[in-house]
Symmetry: C2
Subunit: 191 residues, 2 copies
């Protein structure tokens, strides 16, 4: 009998999560995440990556990437792995717990409906994204029925949102994935 | 170095997932799920459970329950565990894959924003829920900024939704949890 639900991490993510790394706010953190997205594609994953940092100090807490096809789990989006690995690291389901410094999720692309909810429940206080939702759907991926003002919904709940961080570079990764014929998995389309 | 992300399952869930069980559509499946929610509370978990069945045959594929506090992961909602365990069982990230019979997710309560997205990406073709979102928020839990017509959004994407299955009994479990002083974890409230 299986007593645990397990997602195997590819070697590059194991290494990334073991690193001691401090990065300045903004583009440096996104550059790290975009490198992860490229490594993930090279390792057979989707063109998405994310990482959690202590917002003020810039200390890396956790790194994730999209492992849907390789893991066989549709919930294995980059943000889900990064948030969950960060929670494992601090030993608590709330990354906003008062005893710890506020955390930032840096994601190569705008969160889908599921990950938008996951961001809310995770306790992060900052979210930085690269590619926009329209860049993601332009490549055939589905974002789901998100609120029109999704960033405003997060802001109203105390999460600071920064968009378009290295957007062009982030979008280029999505295009390269589609050009290489990577699998595009989706819910059935809305009629 | 940790090479996997792992959620430990409590013994009652390990047992439930190992069972050979066939249940008729509707209330019988929900009764099974509500029993799981009660067992989960007894095992220190939240008042939510869910299970995946083959819709036509009624064969149980997987069972999950809310393990947020015990696992330390904010994404460990009942629906996430049930869907992921079902995907492990069929060995594919898409429960709607053409080679397999259509699947149904039965959940003790309406999905939150995150789980609504997870339902969409999972490939299930049927969703049955017990308690309504308003029953969940009445106990202090947050559902997130869901589309007003969340069921319609699922239906338009080919997922049949049935609501209010044993709703009174499902709501009673939420009330019992709050009455017992169970932890209510949340994002910061919308202003």
């Amino acid at each position: 009998m299986n007593t645990a639900l397990q997602i195997e991490l590819p070697e590059f993510l194991v290494r990334a999560n073991a690193r001691t790394l401090v990065l300045a706010q903004g583009e440096a953190r996104m550059r790290f995440v975009l490198d992860l997205a490229r490594e993930n594609m090279a390792a057979g994953g989707g063109p998405f990556a994310a990482a959690v940092f202590e917002h003020a100090s810039g200390r890396l807490l956790a790194a994730g990437a999209n492992r849907v096809v390789s893991s066989g789990y549709s919930c294995a989006h980059a943000e889900m792995l990064a948030l969950t690995l960060a929670q494992r690291r601090i030993g608590h389901y709330d990354l906003g717990v008062a005893s710890l410094p506020p955390c930032e999720l840096v994601s190569s692309a705008e969160p889908c409906l599921m990950c938008l909810g996951a961001v809310l429940w995770s306790g992060v206080r900052f979210l930085s994204v690269g590619a926009r939702g329209e860049d993601v759907t332009a490549q055939g991926f589905d974002e789901g029925p998100k609120p029109a003002d999704w960033a405003g919904e997060l802001r109203r709940r105390g999460i600071e949102v920064r968009q378009d961080v290295l957007r062009d570079e982030a979008r280029e990764i999505l295009r390269a994935y589609q050009a290489a014929g990577g699998p595009i998995y989706n819910a059935r389309s809305a009629s």
